[in-house]
């Protein structure tokens, strides 16, 4: 084995790969099971975008709080939410992260700093400001972070949050996951100046654009933004240009994509394949080690689905529990 040239230890590289692979297989399985009609509600899959969630979240701890969006499974897994509980939640079972009442778009685990996926687009950004304000007032080193897509970044809540974070110099990072499509509308048609770095600059925040399919580019850039926020440097924006392998939601016919676009991207812009090529070429991890993780992840997802299916549904008595939280 060669000397490790990467900015992560071998153990952390294995963790990062495992996380990305877990997200991928979680989503691939949901794609199949949703098609069979086994999943209640809607799911919006994150497959193809894993390097963003994991490249960023490798720098965070449980004290850092994130606000996710409708496409939140990847953020949840990377933030450490239990995969089996997530699957049960999506199946609407009492063993789920939110006892089956939230479903795909409302998975939350405050103990992990996961404030929640969010079905309302752009609604996560003000929450991240709140988390950042709390960290600032409590004097701990945590940060707030929101994830919005290129579409939701046109929402007033997002733009107001940029302003608020800049005015109060909050330790908040706004991650814009730009996968090129707001549902079915190309970013080229929907954003007047489609550089989110420009948009941040309009509010006095520095911004950076990275290739979101390159784990190491995301990891390195996110590390600097997060360090800056922890050191009192204030808010900033990270735009990750990325690719979504599936439709906006499951069942989306994706007629707005070019013929063969998904297949081409899976072949040439798959962040997992790119990561594997880097670490194996450098001789730091072997294909055998990564294949072993693949096998373990598939077993975990199988077990998560089996347990979710066999878990009970909430009863009528559960309807009025957990409605309010006392602080």
């Amino acid at each position: 084995m060669s000397k490790n040239p990467f900015p992560l230890s071998k153990d952390d590289l294995l963790i990062a790969y495992r996380m990305m692979k877990t997200i991928r297989e979680f989503e691939e399985r949901l794609h199949v099971d949703f098609g069979r009609g086994e999943i209640p509600g809607f799911v919006h899959l994150y497959a193809g975008e894993e390097a963003s969630a994991v490249g960023i979240m490798m720098h965070l701890n449980d004290q850092d709080q994130i606000a996710s969006n409708h496409r939140g499974h990847g953020h949840c897994i990377a933030k450490g939410v239990d995969v089996k509980e997530m699957m049960a939640e999506i199946y609407g079972k009492v063993s789920g992260s939110c006892r089956g009442k939230g479903g795909s778009m409302h998975i939350a685990d405050l103990s992990k700093g996961m404030m929640g996926a969010n079905g309302i687009l752009g609604a996560g950004s003000p929450l991240a400001c709140g988390a950042g304000l709390a960290a600032q007032k409590l004097g701990h080193n945590g940060i707030g972070m929101s994830f919005t897509g290129d579409g939701a970044s046109n929402q007033g809540t997002f733009l107001e949050s940029l302003n608020l974070a800049a005015v109060w110099n909050l330790p908040v990072i706004f991650v814009v996951e730009n996968n090129g499509y707001a549902e079915s509308t190309s970013v080229d048609w929907a954003v007047a100046v489609d550089s989110y770095v420009d948009r941040a600059a309009g509010f006095g925040l520095p911004g950076v654009t990275v290739d979101g399919t390159e784990f190491f580019a995301v990891y390195e850039a996110a590390g600097e933004l997060i360090k800056r926020a922890r050191e009192g440097g204030g808010p900033s924006l990270l735009e990750c240009k990325m690719i979504r392998f599936f439709g906006h939601f499951e069942g989306d016919a994706q007629t707005y994509k070019a013929e063969g676009e998904n297949e081409y991207n899976r072949k040439h812009h798959d962040c997992l394949k790119i990561f594997r090529a880097h670490v194996t070429k450098a001789g730091v991890l072997s294909d055998e080690e990564l294949d072993a993780i693949d096998t373990q992840v598939l077993a975990l997802i199988d077990a998560a689905v089996e347990e979710a299916i066999s878990a009970p549904l909430p009863t009528a008595d559960d309807l009025t529990t957990d409605v309010y939280v006392s602080y």
């Binding site: 900015p7 100046v193 550089s195 770095v197 950076v208 390195e220 240009k241």
Partner: protein, 341 residues
């Protein structure tokens, strides 16, 4: 398009100046609307001296949208201030590759010159594909060691005069040096500097971990620039014409043999340890001493190499042509080109 009239190409890639140097340094952010205004100033200069056709690289970030709005308004007003603008028929990938493909297509379309908006990285991309088409730069990137800052209106005038054949070629054109990197048969170029760093991954591309600096090759070394080449400029400057470059070997021991302060990024003046430096002669393939690491071309990590690759760096002279804006304007004044009566 009428092939009898000279056409000038413009490459304004919105992806330049967006990288991590906005965080790790204090690099600026040239907004899309500013870039559109630069293009309009170029067009005004070109149009004023008779250029009627301009070919631009398409992009989807908003430059075209803002430029078109002003061009339409001008036409509505019955003016003929601006040339007609056509866009290359190419897919937009929103990456540096667009600049390379646009340069190649402009060369094939036989444009008289290409004006480039960007810093060292964008100029490198264009030069890699423009062949013998002369270029003129508008400095608008992060590191701008290669393009000098010139007001775009003046660049438009100077390029326009040149394209119209109003300035003698021996006055208008300068030849430039560049560095060629050969890594296991793969050829890459750099206009200003090739830096060898210990990181063996491309990652966020920029160079800011000075402890990882190993070697530096420069085609020219000035003292008033930002970027890696300034290190050589501080040690032993060499201008853009002299047919030699410099090689610098860094020293990360404590204390190093020589220690200097160098402005390697906007707002970043770093302590840099130096072992030694030497003259780089042209057309001699210099084997990179490091056995593994990454190669940064004009300030950005582009490729990694291992001991099997045995990369080399070669300085080339007369490698590509640029338009000397100051000389063109001086010549234009002397020959009364800009006089109406």
């Amino acid at each position: 398009m009428n092939k009898m009239l000279p056409t000038v190409g413009i490459i304004a890639n919105p992806v330049s100046a967006r990288d991590i140097r906005r965080i790790v340094a204090h690099a600026g952010n040239l907004q899309v609307t500013d870039r559109a205004n630069i293009v309009l100033r170029l067009l005004a200069g070109l149009g004023a001296v008779g250029i009627r056709q301009v070919l631009m690289m398409p992009e989807n970030a908003g430059i075209r949208h803002h430029v078109t709005r002003d061009l339409k308004r001008s036409v509505n007003m019955g003016e003929r201030r601006f040339p007609d603008v056509d866009y290359l028929d190419m897919a937009v990938t929103a990456s540096t590759d667009d600049s390379v493909r646009a340069a190649r297509m402009m060369r094939e379309a036989r444009v008289s010159a290409i004006i480039v908006l960007g810093g060292d990285g964008t100029h490198r991309a264009v030069v890699s594909a423009c062949g013998d088409v002369p270029i003129a730069g508008v400095s608008s990137g992060t590191n701008n060691a290669f393009p000098k800052f010139k007001e775009p209106t003046i660049v438009g005038l100077a390029v326009g005069l040149t394209a119209m054949g109003a300035v003698p070629p021996e006055v208008a054109f300068q030849s430039n040096k560049m560095l060629e990197v050969d890594i296991s048969g793969r050829k890459e170029i750099a206009l200003v500097d090739v830096a060898i760093v210990a990181e063996r991954f491309v990652g966020a591309r920029a160079l800011w971990h000075t402890e990882n600096f190993k070697e530096l090759y420069v085609s020219f070394a000035e003292t008033e620039v930002i970027g890696m080449s300034v290190v050589a400029g501080i040690l032993d400057p060499v201008d853009r014409k002299t047919p030699e470059g410099r090689r610098v070997v860094f020293d990360n021991s404590n204390p190093p043999r020589h220690l200097l302060q160098a402005p390697i990024a906007p707002g970043v003046i770093a302590d840099i340890g130096i072992d030694y430096w030497e003259v780089l002669l042209p057309d001699v393939a210099f084997p990179i001493a490091e056995k593994e690491g990454s190669i940064a071309l004009d300030g950005e990590r582009e490729l990694s190499f291992s001991k099997n690759d045995q990369p080399t760096v070669t300085l080339r002279t007369n490698a590509f042509r640029t338009i000397d804006v100051a000389a063109c304007m001086k010549s234009g004044a002397k020959t009364r080109l800009l006089r109406i009566n």
